[in-house]
Subunit: 414 residues, 2 copies
Amino acid sequence: MDAEIIAVGSELLLGQIVNTNGRFLSQQFAEMGINVYYHTVVGDNDKRLQDAVDIAKKRADLIVFTGGLGPTKDDMTKETISRMLGKELVFDQEALQSIEAYFTKSNRVMTENNKKQALVLEGSDILANDHGMAPGMVLTVENITYMLLPGPPSEMEPMFLKYGYQTLMKMMDKHERIESKVLRFFGIGEAKLETVIEDLIEKQSNPTIAPLAGDGEVTLRITAKHETKEKCEEMIAAAEKEILSRVGQFHYGNNQTSLIKELVKELTVRKLTIAGAESLTGGMFQEQLTTIPGAGKVFKGGIVSYTNDAKSNVLNVKNKTIEQFGVVSEECAIEMAENVSTQFDADIGISFTGVAGPDTQEGKPVGTIFIGIAFRNGKSLAKKLSLSGSRSQNRVRSVKYGCHFLLQEVNNLS
Amino acid sequence: MDAEIIAVGSELLLGQIVNTNGRFLSQQFAEMGINVYYHTVVGDNDKRLQDAVDIAKKRADLIVFTGGLGPTKDDMTKETISRMLGKELVFDQEALQSIEAYFTKSNRVMTENNKKQALVLEGSDILANDHGMAPGMVLTVENITYMLLPGPPSEMEPMFLKYGYQTLMKMMDKHERIESKVLRFFGIGEAKLETVIEDLIEKQSNPTIAPLAGDGEVTLRITAKHETKEKCEEMIAAAEKEILSRVGQFHYGNNQTSLIKELVKELTVRKLTIAGAESLTGGMFQEQLTTIPGAGKVFKGGIVSYTNDAKSNVLNVKNKTIEQFGVVSEECAIEMAENVSTQFDADIGISFTGVAGPDTQEGKPVGTIFIGIAFRNGKSLAKKLSLSGSRSQNRVRSVKYGCHFLLQEVNNLS
């Protein structure tokens, strides 16, 4: 089945909202084994919507519409489809009753245009709207299936999951499944990674291997198609094994995880506590740690030592260290990490000091960053970075590198 | 000018990412007076991309592409356009040098495929990429203008704002200007704000007034069209005056500002320094402060006291206070603010303590938050919030309320 998703609504073309419906349905279709080759966004305009449908009919056998089912004059999706397919709009009694009940219940007067929402294409299968008024509908005409869904994600998503999904699975009556797994890497660039596994990507057909880069990280999505879930997983595992034999040292997790989540997970398992001392990152490492519910089990707290005074007076970094090496130094990073772990009685101290930009500092270029790591009764070390991004990128990547280095150190403990 | 925006990338069709580029460009075009009639999303597939361009050529005279300019084999936007238009791809020396410099600076080996990013369509105007490697380009062939932009929003948005916008404005050479101003409000809901100025919105035609809500803030965008900039500004000023006469007490700034930027601005002007003590917000207030270059003039640093131990041992909150009132209390918030300002020798201390969720704490419901403010040699106070969002929303809104309360206090100083 080849699908096209058409989002109808001028507010999308004015940039007032973003087409999250396209994303949601694409995710669902990818999992269901339905190919999505195009998304189209078109405004509340009868002629242009008709043109978009004419184009979609030539390249898809499933056309899914979101939006344009509401009560106002702007809403015209089903009216346009009705005319194009020569199918009358008729009242769906259940939808009508549910709309009337809604207004009675909320003590509001039902205006006449609200009734319009109960009109459906004759002969279509109705998808009930449990979170709003306009029902969805599915209709197949001349081997093309039209699925009309409401625009608000709060109505569309549950409607699709509860009713639309089953309807399509039944129609397809097919046994092929699609499974995928995302491998996450840090510390290697997209181009480098792709060069190393180029032959695997080139010969891709089933499973496929697709790289994606963002924010200093790279992911590889492995997608397999087969009749059984077991066989899919087997094919994915084989590809994963081959990939990891080449770039395993940069792999940190799978699917919906992140470096900070992996760090919290690892510290929790090992019952280790942590405290942070941050300069250029201004608290970002600690803020990210505490986005995770349950971080309180491993995170004690920390200090944002944004000025040299704060480093010496609050964090107790020796004046001699600052005078001799500067605050942007391996020595200062290590002292910061050691001192913060002592002050907060934590097993591990981690520190971030460096030049985020735009100005240089202590004659050291923008992007010079030291990350200190100190273990209670154990070793201390510092890693140097030379980043070349904007101030914001340098801060974000420093935190990611901090998690990356610390994960490496913690994994080496046992 | 009628535009179509084509986003290229299979990751969009798989639902891995959402097309925020379509939204951003649509907003920009709406302001520039360029009509956007369609968005199209197409995968990394030469044939389907070509089909999409053939369709767009029939219905648009400006076709804007996002994505597919990267170094990998998947990236094929400029190769496809090159072939369709019969324009060679040639190396842009400036882009090539900047790519080489990037790799030299970051001490990484440049793989051959990275050079590909410096290839541009012959005869096109180049849009420099200040935040990445692939330059953008603009080329007009047979009365249709093609604009190619990179996919990552962190590269595309600044490139468009700094270079793409001007290029299009010059090409249009039109005399009607469009000017807009965004008024920002905090502490009032969207529905309430809209009710208060409903009559102004209803009679809107020129200037128009459009409300938009998000993350606890509401903005009003006033947009005026006229031949001269002066007249536009006059029209905007009149609308602004009327709006502020009704809801001026909630207005905190205009256009691309934020509560935290206004706070840094105000503290800088008044030469006041600040330190922060954070519990539920985990460093978010300090992290946001330090996103702003020059924050070092006002921000001394602070403490993330995530555990009760950290509050008493590092931040020196009295055990008696914690035992008697709990850490989620007015009394604890005030002590935290007072102590952090003393420890960091700052003019102002601000503190955040409360229950972010999902679990309750000290028998106090999720969303109970106290914000403490202490002035050196001056008054101390605490404000209580009862928020009803998710953990993440409660943290974000706490920081915004903190800025809001502190701005009010600081503005009352003189």
